[in-house]
Assembly symmetry: D2
Homo-oligomer: 458 residues x 4
Amino acid sequence: MGTLWGGRYTEAPDELLWEFNASLRFDKRLAQVDVRGSIAYAKALGRAGILNEDEVHILLRGLEQIAREFSQGSFAFAPTDEDIHTAVERRLHELIGPVAGKLHTGRSRNDQVATDIRLYLLEVLDELAQSLRAVQSSIIAKAEEHLSVIMPGYTHLQPAQPVRFSHWLLSFFWMFQRDLERLQDLRKRTSLCPLGAGALAGNAYGIDREALARELGFTGVTENSMDAVSDRDMVLETLSWAAILGVHLSRLAEDLILWSSAEFGFVQLAERFTTGSSLMPQKRNPDSMELVRAKAGRLIGNLVQLLTVIKGLPSTYDKDLQEDKEPLFDTLDTLKMTLPITAQVIATLQVNQEAMQNALDEAMLATDLADYLVRKGIPFREAHHLVGQVVLLSEQKGLPLSKLPLEELQRISPAFGPDLYDTLHFEASVEARNVIGGTALSAVKKQLQRARMLLQGK
Amino acid sequence: MGTLWGGRYTEAPDELLWEFNASLRFDKRLAQVDVRGSIAYAKALGRAGILNEDEVHILLRGLEQIAREFSQGSFAFAPTDEDIHTAVERRLHELIGPVAGKLHTGRSRNDQVATDIRLYLLEVLDELAQSLRAVQSSIIAKAEEHLSVIMPGYTHLQPAQPVRFSHWLLSFFWMFQRDLERLQDLRKRTSLCPLGAGALAGNAYGIDREALARELGFTGVTENSMDAVSDRDMVLETLSWAAILGVHLSRLAEDLILWSSAEFGFVQLAERFTTGSSLMPQKRNPDSMELVRAKAGRLIGNLVQLLTVIKGLPSTYDKDLQEDKEPLFDTLDTLKMTLPITAQVIATLQVNQEAMQNALDEAMLATDLADYLVRKGIPFREAHHLVGQVVLLSEQKGLPLSKLPLEELQRISPAFGPDLYDTLHFEASVEARNVIGGTALSAVKKQLQRARMLLQGK
Amino acid sequence: MGTLWGGRYTEAPDELLWEFNASLRFDKRLAQVDVRGSIAYAKALGRAGILNEDEVHILLRGLEQIAREFSQGSFAFAPTDEDIHTAVERRLHELIGPVAGKLHTGRSRNDQVATDIRLYLLEVLDELAQSLRAVQSSIIAKAEEHLSVIMPGYTHLQPAQPVRFSHWLLSFFWMFQRDLERLQDLRKRTSLCPLGAGALAGNAYGIDREALARELGFTGVTENSMDAVSDRDMVLETLSWAAILGVHLSRLAEDLILWSSAEFGFVQLAERFTTGSSLMPQKRNPDSMELVRAKAGRLIGNLVQLLTVIKGLPSTYDKDLQEDKEPLFDTLDTLKMTLPITAQVIATLQVNQEAMQNALDEAMLATDLADYLVRKGIPFREAHHLVGQVVLLSEQKGLPLSKLPLEELQRISPAFGPDLYDTLHFEASVEARNVIGGTALSAVKKQLQRARMLLQGK
Amino acid sequence: MGTLWGGRYTEAPDELLWEFNASLRFDKRLAQVDVRGSIAYAKALGRAGILNEDEVHILLRGLEQIAREFSQGSFAFAPTDEDIHTAVERRLHELIGPVAGKLHTGRSRNDQVATDIRLYLLEVLDELAQSLRAVQSSIIAKAEEHLSVIMPGYTHLQPAQPVRFSHWLLSFFWMFQRDLERLQDLRKRTSLCPLGAGALAGNAYGIDREALARELGFTGVTENSMDAVSDRDMVLETLSWAAILGVHLSRLAEDLILWSSAEFGFVQLAERFTTGSSLMPQKRNPDSMELVRAKAGRLIGNLVQLLTVIKGLPSTYDKDLQEDKEPLFDTLDTLKMTLPITAQVIATLQVNQEAMQNALDEAMLATDLADYLVRKGIPFREAHHLVGQVVLLSEQKGLPLSKLPLEELQRISPAFGPDLYDTLHFEASVEARNVIGGTALSAVKKQLQRARMLLQGK
């Protein structure tokens, strides 16, 4: 049967071009959605009176057979199959004869592939939403377990103020929550059916596009045929979404890599999420998290690739758009693996409370000391400056804040009284921050509650 | 007064570091929102009982004076102003004395700048939404004007099927409509108030964060202080959004550049949106559209910059995040200029109907001829193949399809009858595609109506 | 045998992690160079007295057998093979028993894989240099064929000045020449042997690294073991090089796509480098060139991926570096296909001299008219302005420049005399530009000569 | 005087377009090189007999006056100055009258700006080479100072093997050395003069391009006028070079940030290269290094921007190319500041030898223990496995390797003898690796010597 387009041709395509041009290698994963689209289209042609009932019946029988062959892995591709659409049509012809040639009536590969991508994407997005929720779920569980653990909070990787371990971990819940919301938003825009847009100008056979869209589970139809065949916004938006999600994952990975270093020692990855060295017998490397961190680069690269491909293209379909699939599939596959790994690494993470406690240094209570002075009526900016001098004194003397004698402190500010030592407790510090989103136990518990409700879709 | 953080320091910062570190050069545009945030924060400290009524009153008086100075352009920056926050606090101290030092109570530059960015972004996003609607509006107006103009539709930049000029132009309406929807989606996530997150651990002064958020016009508050100070998702999402929008604009620009070439000649840009050559006296170059096309590169570059900066950062605030502002501002400024230019280029575009008509070639009706055979009962795939041979014949004979003698056509397929010539009209071809989103006049009119309703926010 | 690193482990790696971590899927293409490196390393251990002659002999026998198995495609991978290095070591053990365990003495996968990448890259770079020269060669041949063809030269895609077709085509020769030079430059930096750097600290067995480098065909050794195991500059530089080359190819593709449009019609791609449409029987699309254009996006994306992965990594080897291979291989594979396609498309290109001639418009001679006035003593800037008025007149009258009556021209400038019409010839225009790199026949011939010499490596 | 191109125009450019199009804002930094190029071009026109001696003299006088005005900061730009070329030509006209109009004879802004960019770039590249050498010089000095300091070497941020601090620091010397070599390579390709290429077709006035190139200090001329006006490879190559250099700097920054954390504590940045917090009085943040790390994102973004802009452009000059300057200038400015900061941070770095010593853990000698077994005749792979068990034992017992009783070790392998304890010294470990590029003192000294020679250009 050869190509779908050879009628006016006098020469066969160059072999190198054939290989360059063929997309079967990567678009075969669209097999099932392609058949699903064809089944719906056959019915639509029937409803429009273009095919009679028998023809529709024969087509459906053939297509369902092909779907089974794909499910069972028994579908045999031919070397002449240019892409998944050609492969299906070729097989259909083998199975049901010339009626197969009626399926493409008024349909172009341009609207067909646009439909396939959307159907496929909708499926995978739902799967990824589940995986993302599983990560959130492991965060909530681990946070609940360690509510009382206090650890150093850092800014600029320098000790800043004490925080709860759970509060730190939950900070990632909210990143992933935004990722989930973005996912829902882009899903809306993906769920529009382009079938019936033809090559670029629409369908001349009066098919009912809205019925067709409903049949395929879309929530609506695209509104302009020229836009419909070249719109890859849902892919670009998915790649952007994934890049931002990847950046979130890379930050979590970075924290876990740092904290499982010998020097921090705050957490330990489960042995089965680490690997060793071929040379150094003692090594236990956090490869899982290093790869998660690195995957952000891949996700960003895929986004750049497609933005660059589409930039400046003349409108409607250009062959350049065929380059949309590989970055999309690579991004989806990357997340399919990265998210479950992340969920399990969190779930199996060992938290070393003692190391965290040992890392708490009283200099991290300097802000609390400034707050103390503020309560004594000193403007914050001045209090900050005075406490700066206290810290310098503490460094010079090599003494923690709580060991500095009162008279020395009073030389810096007479406002210091003996009650100042009461503020120099890590627990007091985290409890003092009891606004929404703060580190106090009550605040973190409310945060957890809101997180749990969101996870349950409330 | 010096820096806001010098208390414990014994050395002044290195001059080179000062310049490297200082952000005033670019963050001064946050002046008004910074003051707005400080006014709300002063009130919140008052409501929480941290400041008394007099202090609040004095602070507000000072801050309002500063706001006026910014409006009037009379605010004088000092060489020691590290950033806009320092500049405002320094000036406040000059105006109202030591009470100024109370404004920062419990607030860090980390939550302050996060609030500023969001307030600023919300303003500009609304402005850009207006500009985007203006582009859509110019599309609708121009499309209505030229409903009857038929032109070649291209795929792969090769003549494909005839379409209406209005249909082509409206294809961009839908791209921009998706951009608008994405803008609304990201606006939701931007409209959350981080103030009260402190440096990373929350606020120890019991301020009412929800009231504070309402005061500033936010729709809610952020839920985790550690996330709040380092969340730049709203920036990343804006940059992604802008990159996709930029790609849409680049495609429109590409079409207009191609079509205003001597060889196409379909449109002419208004003279005042072109420029000439310093060497070649005859030139009239579409510089406006070339720059619009190129801006996509800049928008993509800005996105890559920030994704790369944030990837792999340890959690909470790192100084790296200061690099968020320049790409954000550059992207917003680029769109502020690109969108109005685009709207005006469309509004003033001359459409050369005659050139479009001349470019219509009967080979573009080959699909209609195949449709003719389908109606005679021939499966589409076979019809496609037969018409391919007709096209080849037409090329070999150097005759348009409608001039090929019937007997020769019948040699290719006996299904051809004398009525075939009726299908070989461009008007008939566009009218045949009358499904939703198709090229028929009725379909394009419905499309226009939906577009108009969406533009009016219905 | 399991992993190479399991001694201290009590748990097996998680299955998901195993899949996430394993690199065999893509690094198996390093098989031959990996064996080559091992053969040289075995000899080096022999020379250093670490292995005796027999052991070296046995190892070489085993490794050569493995090399044969790879050549013949008979090598059987095991499900437990984590990467190509593990696979080879596992097979070696099967073939020669415990002596296999001596091969890794003092070697780490870190220096091993760094060596493999460089060996592989050197091979492929040489192959790509050949392909690039083949593109240049097809340019020279085609340029020689059409030396006398004059066509419109464009700036801003607007007709600018007449040029020779050969001159246009040769402009790409120089882009590719720079690409070739860059290739030679990066080759130098690739040709340094890291073997002996161990995991990060060097080799404790006194092997002669310089002899080892010579044995493997490197020109030198790396100078610091910590740098050596994590240096991926040769990959980054290759990806940069490829991105720039890809941009050049995309510009050539763009020109050919535009010029094979119906409206330009200047060239025609050989039928076998075009494809048709599944819906529209008349189509002949320049898919080959559209894909070449799009590949630039992929090459840029790959570069961004790796830059982003490596940015901010702690020094020496991190697992993130494993993500270097896929973008590298994808880039190399892309060029391996794109360059030969391009060479053949050029070689088989049909040049439509008549269409080019028809597109020459006398307005393109405006600069020549200005030059005429300059020769009459009028400053160029004024001449440019006067000719601008002449062009306007010609447009308003609808007459070509050569048909404007002398008296009307003299009303614009009395300097115009009857000899002005002599300058209004396209041939005269291209011949006037006879400096190095200009359009005159003598200049283009000299250019061709230089190009030919460079291609021959002179 | 208005624009340089207005002759045929009947309308003034739109104000918005004017602003969109004007490049003076950023190209004014090309002022001096633009004047330099014009001086050389005036002389070339004189040599070619196009201008007489007097005219050349007058032009030079005017241009030199303008150069002085730029030097003194007294040059007054006019609101109608579109770009730096227009500004200079406008001022020249004011200074010397109509002769000014002769300067542009046969020159276009296309070849003019291409020349300006190259001249400017050559200057800045030389300046950056100096800055890069200064970084290398500070590395060498600091490495020499601390030759005897041994510290943990990491892979995967897990303790791997002991290394010398100097060896670690020198690893960056070699990265920067490659950057310097790449800089020299790209300099060659930048040093070609495009002047005489005109708008695209060459120069019709017979100027001697080679003499012109020599006059301007170029080493050669460009070979094809169409390539010359749109070649931006030197910019792309500079941006690639800078991105790779930026990645190197980011890795150094990452190490220094990690090592100046409280938990590592290996180094301390000089106080004047850190900054404090507006809220937390105790903070001393490594802002300088955080910004250096972040700058890599900016450098990568600039590269992506320009690659994307140029990808797929039709050949010769398109206005899109005007977008080359801002990313180029931003990249150059970024490096002009980043490199000196880095040099000074290294020069003033405090090295905390004690903290490094404390962080040395005997598990890092596991490889040495395996080497011990190898010397007893056990194949390395088996030795690795056995030592893995030793490490596990040490962890389970909570004892360092050197405290494990011999009998227990002999239960793991009878090959262990009492001399094994001799290998368990950090000094012994680094000294054992005495090949080129290894950690032994002699090897590091040789490395230093090679580095010093390269720095001196030998």
